[in-house]
């Protein structure tokens, strides 16, 4: 007979309405045998009591419903973001709040390199947080005059490079492509965006940005970063799922030391209708720690990159409307194929024109082929208005809102992209809650750091990095609702709410171990609740370096 462990805790927040709080949880075969008091659980027979969490608080394991393995790949490179970030080994990478500090960290990284020709690659830089001051090649030339240096922005749509890189890439004042930013005298200043300009830089120095995410090491680091933030299930929401990648995911997740469950969504926009068969084959390879069966579809670009598709009146600063990566007509034919095959679609929509088009497409596909409980989910969905949320509710569509954007880019949305009206209602968690649309909140790591408690904090407080609060009381949600969004809410969008997301009998024994009770701290302190570690299928994983701090 298998052994039974009863974990004792100061408090267990279950997310189960019939038993919201308890002190003990019994685990057998990696699953939850019972929840209650020690007395209530003893009836299951012989057991051992594990009271290492006697002073801790247990929650259902946190679920990150939208991130990317790319986060794991990026840790091959130097992190130069504005905000603190925890690296996979648990050490804190302090945020760099001046361009000089960025240059300093790059100089240190450069000094540690042995091959004089190897490019120095960095990531996570965000120029909009320096109050209008832009980094240029003059800054990066202080890092090296000979070695190519490329710094990818947090949005991944722009980069800064040094003069050595531009020389190798042949980028001069005469280079006839869009997206090369210039000094007043017309010389390129090293900031590059758009396809051709980025290509010129990648060609001489950035190829590793494309190969790093495909490795086993990237999967390991992705899992570790998630675990440090208290996550037990993480969605990798856009993957080509090449044979090699599937092999890596399978091998890594099968290792008992790998601390999270991974849900990997097939890149359906790239595979088109052909991907249906591939997804069928992949589902047969599902394990308890690796899941296939979701297709991710693209529509527009990003708001901060001015490539999202906006409805009238468009961008606040007058920028032209963004671009489609997949237009509504093609979206319809691809969605219909996966929908008819019984798969669930997660659709990237940033601007409100994209969410409107996606909802029309879903309505049309559902009219043709009704399917109960499809749970197609709009991802990001940052600008949807109330009418669109009403439409989601009536169509049975879920939403995973990009709450972290409120903090990271809320000020830019207020001043530049959306203007006050639409920025105030962006990532409308309050509306989703009020209209009964099943919802979650996410990080989209590596775009922002993975950290469900931080995402929940954003949904509760709606505070920007500049200190502005976006929207009013009706736009916010309670701490309780936010904690539900990062557990059962996200599990529901992944069609795993029968397995994970709450602490109740029969579910997987996945817990997040906290040093304090998140429902007792001030709502403004939710992001600072220390994560001691996690329990995955009954196995305890202490976060390296002990209790981690907040994620912001």
């Amino acid at each position: 007979m298998s052994s039974t462990t009863i974990f004792a805790a100061r408090k267990i927040l279950t997310m189960n309405h019939s038993r919201p709080a308890a002190t003990h949880v019994a685990v057998r075969d990696g699953r939850i045998l019972g929840v209650g008091s020690l007395e209530e659980l003893e009836g299951w027979g012989p057991h051992q009591v594990d009271d290492r969490f006697a002073s801790k608080v247990l929650m259902p394991g946190l679920v990150e419903g939208h991130a990317h393995v790319l986060e794991g790949g990026f840790w091959d490179f130097t992190y130069v973001g504005y905000h603190d970030r925890r690296s996979p080994d648990g050490t804190l990478q302090p945020g760099l709040t001046s361009i000089d500090a960025v240059v300093e960290r790059l100089r240190a990284a450069e000094a540690a390199m042995t091959d004089p020709n190897a490019p120095l690659l960095a990531w996570g830089f965000d120029p909009i947080l320096f109050g209008g001051q832009r980094m240029t090649c003059r800054d990066l030339d202080r890092v090296s005059a000979t070695r190519p240096v490329a710094v990818l922005h947090a949005s991944v749509h722009l980069m800064n490079v040094n003069s050595a890189l531009m020389t190798r890439a042949g980028i001069t004042a005469a280079t006839p492509v869009t997206g090369i930013a210039r000094f007043p005298d017309g010389e390129p200043n090293g900031e590059l965006q758009e396809f051709a300009a980025m290509y010129l830089a990648y060609k001489v120095a950035g190829g590793e940005f494309f190969t790093a995410p495909g490795t086993e090491r990237a999967v390991w680091r992705f899992g570790r970063v998630a675990q440090l933030a208290g996550v037990t299930t993480v969605a990798d929401l856009y993957n080509d799922l090449s044979d090699e990648m599937v092999g890596n995911l399978t091998a890594v997740t099968a290792d008992p030391a790998f601390p999270v469950r991974v849900v990997s969504a097939l890149n359906g926009s790239g595979h088109g209708v052909d991907g249906v068969e591939k997804l069928r084959r992949l589902v047969a390879r599902n394990t308890d720690k690796l899941r296939f069966g979701i297709v991710k579809l693209m529509t527009d670009g990003s708001i901060q990159g001015f490539s999202a598709r906006l409805k009238w009146p468009g961008y606040y600063n007058g920028a032209p409307n963004g671009i489609w990566n997949t237009g509504p007509e093609e979206l319809r034919s691809i969605l219909a194929a996966y929908h008819k095959a019984g798969f669930q679609a997660h659709i990237h929509v940033n601007g409100d024109e994209a969410s409107e088009a996606a909802l029309e497409v879903i309505a049309s596909v559902l009219t043709e082929t009704p399917r109960p409980d499809h749970r197609h989910t709009l991802q990001h969905c940052q600008m949807a208005d109330e009418a669109q949320f009403r439409s989601m509710a009536s169509l049975g569509v879920c939403v995973n809102l990009f709450a972290n954007h409120i903090f990271y880019w809320g000020d830019a949305h207020y001043a530049l992209t959306m203007g006050p009206d639409r920025a105030n209602r962006m990532d409308a968690v309050g509306t989703a809650k009020r209209l009964g649309v099943p919802f979650a909140v996410h990080s989209d790591a590596p775009i922002t750091p993975i950290g469900p408690l931080f995402s929940a904090w954003c949904a509760v407080n709606r505070r920007t990095s500049g200190g502005r609060v976006l929207g009013g009381e009706a736009d916010r949600i309670t701490v309780e609702d936010a904690l539900r969004a990062i557990t059962l809410g996200a599990a529901y969008t992944l069609r795993m709410d029968h397995e994970i997301g709450s602490i109740e009998v029969g579910k997987r024994a996945d817990f997040t171990v906290l040093d304090v009770d998140p429902t007792e701290v001030a709502p403004e302190a939710l992001k600072d609740v220390p994560v001691w570690g996690t329990v995955l299928g009954g196995t305890v994983f202490q976060a390296p370096g002990g209790p981690g701090g907040g994620n912001a």
Partner: protein, 307 residues
């Protein structure tokens, strides 16, 4: 040796793949690589494919191979690492992308020469699409990017409607050149026009019945004035859609002649990089819709450009 880059754009269903198949059927003895937006949309005629491995298609033609990448950036970076670099790269842009954004690579990367941005237009739907609330601006961006418009689906509309579409395109993108796709054989020549051995309609193989296009050629042993030549070419009537020349300019004392390309409205002149040209003098070939040039063909234009 620079790679000639051709970007084929146009809305989903306009006929990009049909055009691509015509191009790939051209017997040309060059190494051609094709990058398409996604596997689902590539429908290269089965008879052209010798083998398929992962994301690479080997074309029977022997001189051509075709890599299919879901991520264009990654595919382009991968191409650079390949030992067997092609003479020609054709990128089929996705139905919603602005082909000029991709074509810029041909302007900025010294490894490439931008041959042309060819946009395939669905003559039946284009005006409705240009007015579509979601896709309108995208379609207009594509039209504006084109050096050459290939008008497909004209057989689905009557002549008056066809004329109306042409007039609308002319007003919308005034400088562009256009050719109906029933002159489909033109497609092969867009890439592979040979100034020394221009095909005439009789030589052109093709499976679908199509109207014959016209070929004009002219040669001279006298040196050419660079400025006047450019003016003369810019004055070519819109029905002339492709030209190529091997030219000896009066102001050029090098022994190497220059090579001139015109695809639609895009023109380039660069030193001939191919194996040394042994023929003396200059020669010019053009193709287009019959009747586009008068009975003397290119002669009057070339005469204008002589010194």
């Amino acid at each position: 040796m620079t790679i000639a880059l051709t970007v084929i754009g146009g809305f989903l269903g306009a006929g990009k793949t049909t055009l691509l198949n015509r191009v790939l059927q051209g017997r040309h003895g060059r190494r051609v690589m094709v990058l398409v937006n996604d596997f689902g949309s590539i429908n290269i005629d089965a008879e052209l494919i010798a083998g398929r491995q992962g994301r690479t298609l080997e074309l029977k033609n022997g001189c051509a191979c075709c890599t299919v990448g879901g991520d264009l950036m990654a595919a382009l970076l991968d191409l650079q690492r390949r030992p067997d670099r092609p003479d020609d790269l054709i990128i089929e842009a996705s139905g919603v992308s602005d082909p000029m954004r991709i074509a810029e690579i041909g302007l900025a990367d010294p490894d490439y020469r931008l041959n042309a941005v060819v946009v395939v237009v669905d003559a039946e739907r284009v005006r409705a699409l240009a007015a579509d609330r979601y896709m309108g601006d995208t379609v207009l961006r594509q039209l504006a990017a084109a050096d050459l418009l290939v008008l497909g689906k004209l057989d689905l509309i009557d002549e008056a409607q066809g004329d109306a579409v042409r007039a609308w395109l002319k007003a919308t993108v005034p400088h562009v050149r256009m050719v109906p796709s029933r002159y489909g054989a033109v497609a092969e020549e867009i890439l592979f026009l040979d100034a020394d051995h221009p095909k005439t309609a009789d030589h052109v193989h093709g499976h679908a019945p199509h109207a014959d296009f016209a070929t004009w050629s002219a040669e001279t042993s006298r040196p050419i004035d660079r400025g006047r030549f450019a003016e003369a070419m810019a004055a070519l009537p819109p029905g002339v859609v492709r030209a190529k020349g091997v030219l000896r300019f009066a102001d050029d004392d090098s022994t190497r002649p220059a090579v001139f390309h015109m695809v639609g409205r895009r023109m380039s002149i660069e030193p001939l990089a191919e194996p040394a040209d042994t023929q003396p003098g200059s020669r010019l070939v053009a193709i287009g819709i019959p009747g586009a040039l008068g009975p003397d063909g290119l002669w009057p234009l070339l005469n204008e450009a002589l010194r």
